[in-house]
Symmetry: C2
Subunit: 338 residues, 2 copies
DNA sequence: TTGTATGCGTTATCAA
DNA sequence: TTGATAACGCATACAA
């Protein structure tokens, strides 16, 4: 394990001081009018010895790590997996590394992981928080550290975020169900304490009310297959009549719903119509193809990353931004006209 | 942005030297027989001032970052997303952070990202390399840095890995197709220069030969939806008869195949039988449910992480291990008996 | 039992 | 035009 070369090695070899080496290597040669041959020699030696600055030392000195903490509720969920991919790639392009954390949608873990990341002196945080509990986030902002929310955000207040226009998506989706004659609709939701979920439920409710429908149900409490499955089971076993349509607030929930329907030998859309958030490639090939509300996940990822890093580099005082990008409703074949 | 407290602050407040503070905080109080009251006072002050050691400074001093570089070909692919999730969670449990990199299955990017991670002085690397090109990996190993391969590995040589028994999986899957009477089978493969792909193709080929089948085709070159789609299009448009069964070497490829079959109005399994690597929840609800070869992705992730960190902490000289975990074939309804 | 002083590899201030 | 030196925050060899 040969010792890595540092500026001292180069300085000795070039017969100059480490100061000079540091300056030349940082492109400050011209500024300090360091002689042409000296510069050239230093560059050559650095090249030849394959010199790489020690980033840890740089970080310590400059108080800048060029690392961004990315905190997500569930990297396994395809929506967040895609988000992670985009953010990682975009950050790299701008010279930043991503330190990843998975909170498993648990607020205690979220707070612990945030601490851990801050201890690592990351320059900024991108997070999809798992609830509306925001004290830990506000503290970070107060400390001056840059932070941006993706997908999940805080309702009220002014913590910057980039997300989907969830209200619009849910409203339009529900309207579509209503226009197809459905009057008995259930909505299976995810984590109830998250903004996207709250907005989606609101859009759903408003649309129902607007159409004078009083017969709607809201059930469930997490963005998981299991939740979709269990809630559908309950829905079907209830003494009340089964809904003619179900709005699933995530693709994971949809999968659970499908499982329950299959077990009950109910077919889509003949017995039950379905519409789901989070467009996924597989939806085209389900039986039947499932209509969905496609979130602009790529745009959310690239935009959030860009804005965050821009503000980091311009040293703008405060990041202030609340962006809701419109989702697109993709019609397939899972809703039946009544 | 108030200045963060450091051991000097505490030392001043406690009226002792920074050495003593450092020792006490690192649990070396007893060892150096530092007086009980002194210890207590230091702990109290640290607690009260919410002291957190500066990890960057520690890293510089100890030459240990407690960070692991995770390099994957495509975080968006559900297989790798799950892997990333597991590895991130397991690493955290052991006190390590994950620095994430996505190579987009590109060897040049892979090498560049490796350099970048090494420059960050990560303690070890977990990687699913995108090809058999391994010079950059071997160099890292020679330097003494720990590295472990997951899923993708290098055939021959002794670079440690944890992966699926891909040969077994493909052989058994193909055998199943053959036992159902199929004699004209196509295999749509992924990146041809990766070990899993090579082993799967080998398993496929061997099974075919064993059954005396000469009529088999191997097509494709990447683990993407598009590849599955295009290759199926070609297969169907060829002057030769279409295969009666297709073995898809990933779930992404499967989705492409489904698209092409749908466009050609061919149904599964009546016209074409299907079998796919990478079990995914949605496969249960496709039309028809697709039988698959389920890789033990959780086990791969936890085991690789455990072994790597163990070896890191025991300071064992060399990591030497090649593990192939058996996949499980999950039978659904996508293969027809001829 | 505690402290002084050095070094990890940089960058930046000040002096020459 | 260049260089000594301090500082970033911590851990530790050596002294006392």
């Amino acid at each position: 394990m040969q010792k890595r070369v540092n500026i001292k090695t180069i300085a000795d070899l070039a017969g100059v001081s480490i100061t000079t080496v540091s300056r030349v290597l940082n492109g400050l040669g011209p500024k300090y009018r360091i002689s042409e041959p000296t510069c050239k020699r230093i560059f050559e030696i650095a090249e030849e010895m394959n010199y790489k600055p020690n980033i840890i030392a740089q970080s310590l000195r400059l108080k800048k790590t060029n690392a961004i903490g990315l905190i997500l509720p569930d990297i396994g969920n395809p929506f967040f997996a895609t988000l992670a991919r985009i953010i990682t790639i975009e950050s790299k392009k701008r010279g930043y590394s991503i330190i990843l954390a998975d909170t498993e949608d648990n607020i205690d873990l979220e707070q612990e992981l945030m601490e851990l990341l801050l201890d690592r002196n990351i320059d900024a945080i991108i997070i999809a928080p798992c609830s509306q509990t925001r004290s830990h986030i506000e503290e970070v902002i107060k400390s001056g550290k840059k932070i941006i929310l993706v997908d999940r955000y805080y309702i009220g207040g002014n913590i910057p975020y980039v997300t989907t226009d969830n209200y619009y998506g849910a409203y339009e989706a529900t309207k579509y169900l209503l226009q197809n004659g459905h009057r008995d609709i259930a909505c299976i939701q995810g984590s109830t304490d998250t903004a996207p979920n709250i907005q989606r439920v609101k859009g759903f409710t408003d649309a129902c009310k607007k159409f004078g429908v009083k017969h709607f149900k809201i059930a469930g409490d997490s963005f998981t297959i299991q939740n979709g499955y269990l809630e559908t089971k309950l829905l079907l076993s209830s003494s009340m009549s089964a809904p003619t349509a179900i709005l699933c607030l995530s693709s994971t929930i949809l999968l659970g719903v499908l499982k329950a329907l299959k077990e009950a030998d109910l077919s889509v859309p003949d017995n039950v119509s379905l519409l789901s958030f989070d467009n996924q490639p597989f939806m085209d090939y389900l039986n039947p193809p499932i209509s969905s509300i496609a979130q602009p996940v790529n745009e959310i990822g690239t935009f959030a990353t860009k804005v965050l890093i821009d503000s980091l580099e311009e040293g703008r005082k405060k990041l202030n931004l609340s962006v809701k990008l419109r989702p697109q409703i993709i019609l397939r074949n899972s809703v039946r006209l009544i």
